[in-house]
């Protein structure tokens, strides 16, 4: 591994100052960075700035209707958290599907988002749930909706298969997020879904080992006051160069049923990526199937009316 230096940050301010000054790369669990640092010379002039020990970033706390997850919270800590398990089951399943126990013991949710891999398992869940990203920089804190924090990243979707090591950017935060220089993520705020909201997570992999998804799907179905499906939200990994949330609302679909409208929108969206996706014919066929399976499970019978 070729790096200039490694240091542990002693406070969020210190980390932020150093990071803004340049020459540093933020290091949380290192599960993406260590893989890249092994094979590439990208970091020989960079210092890894380890923020994983900062107590102020280790908190999981409830605030109004949000669960606030600090940037140094690991996936294992989320998996073991009762609020996550009981009140954010979509996120719980997404987190549990990441890598192995060893990986989840180190990897952070913020690092997963910052790494902005189009095949990430956590990003589609966060986008579907309407999560917000808390960003810290010289000018203080600001909050950005997760769906709006990403830039397009087309490079890796042109290759079949998805591997962490195929990411083409030494500092994905710079290239794939809209952050200002020196800004870092300090936490992620996830709203608890309305009571009665159904969720669906599916991860399709080449084999059943611990690798990245070929495609994944996160979906929620929110009921109205009478318990009838009102709104479907979904987001998928491995298909789109920038995470998107596709939303379908009952009664706004020109006479089509909620189910039909949802599928039509998804098919239109993937057809836009025809020239980009390496495995387009396969993914074009399978994507609607994944959604149908989720709808089958989440929409009660008799939900066909518009």
């Amino acid at each position: 591994m070729l790096i200039r230096d490694y240091i542990r940050a002693s406070s969020l301010e210190e980390a932020s100052e150093r990071y803004a000054a340049g020459g540093y790369i933020l290091f949380a669990g290192g599960t993406d960075l260590m893989v890249k640092a092994r094979g590439k010379k990208w970091y020989q002039d960079k210092t890894f700035l380890d923020i994983s020990g900062l107590q102020e970033l280790k908190e999981i706390r409830e605030e109004e209707n949000f669960l606030c997850v600090g940037a140094a919270v690991t996936l294992t800590e989320l998996e073991e958290n009762r609020e996550v398990r009981e009140r954010l089951p979509l996120l719980y399943e997404a987190v549990r599907s990441v890598g192995s126990t060893q990986i989840r013991n180190r990897a952070t949710l913020a690092g997963n988002l910052a790494n902005a891999c189009p095949a990430s398992d956590c990003i589609p869940a966060l986008v579907t749930l309407g999560a917000q990203v808390e960003v810290y920089g010289g000018k203080g804190k600001r909050v950005i909706p997760a769906e709006q924090i990403f830039r397009e990243c087309r490079a890796c979707l042109r290759h079949s298969g998805m591997h962490v090591r195929t990411c083409y950017y030494s500092d994905p935060t710079e290239k794939k997020l809209i952050l200002e220089p020196g800004e870092m993520i300090c936490g992620i705020r996830i709203p608890f879904p309305k009571p009665g909201t159904g969720h669906w997570f599916y991860k399709l992999t080449q084999n059943r080992t611990i690798g990245m998804a070929v495609m994944n799907l996160s979906m929620t179905v929110e009921p109205d006051e009478r318990g009838k499906a009102r709104r479907i939200r979904l987001s998928a990994g491995g298909i789109f160069p920038r995470p998107v949330c596709l939303e379908t609302v009952r009664g706004k679909n020109a006479g089509k049923s909620l189910r039909e409208a949802c599928l039509e929108q998804a098919v239109n969206a993937i057809e836009q990526e025809k020239d980009l996706l390496a495995d387009y014919p396969y993914k074009r066929r399978v994507f609607p199937e994944l959604i149908e399976e989720g709808l089958e499970a989440l929409l009660p019978d008799g939900e066909e009316d518009s």
Partner: protein
Amino acid sequence: MMKEIEFTLNGTRTRTETQPGERLLDLLRERLGLTGTKEGCGIGSCGACTVILDGKAVNACLVPAQAVDGRELVTIEGIMQNESLHPIQDALIRHHAIQCGFCTPGLVMSAKALLDENPDPSRGEIQRAIAGNLCRCTGYEQVIEAIQDAAKGGKTQC
């Protein structure tokens, strides 16, 4: 920069020099001569390098050596109990769960991290705990049985 770090290694306070570019795996194998921890892939996929850091199984190939400063580390060399094999090691032998043995130290450490936290795991919990440990020779059935046996006190003769 060369830096001196101090941490608890298999129960003993240990001081050593390290380079920033060293991984925990390099520190153990090259500098400290503890070659029980293996390097299979170097990218977090095989689990041959699994060690226990502050009670959690981690891939030593994905941890910078300097990150263990002040922390507690257990490797395969540190789990013997009074000169005898750890019950997990013993169970792996009795269940014929070892062929070439390259994956074994990592599997033992994953299993130990599991049993330390959860002494009575279900089969599913065992499978999840070792999902990050690849074995190319033996397969996983015998390993799972061995871990179940070790959890029950390790009495089954096979």
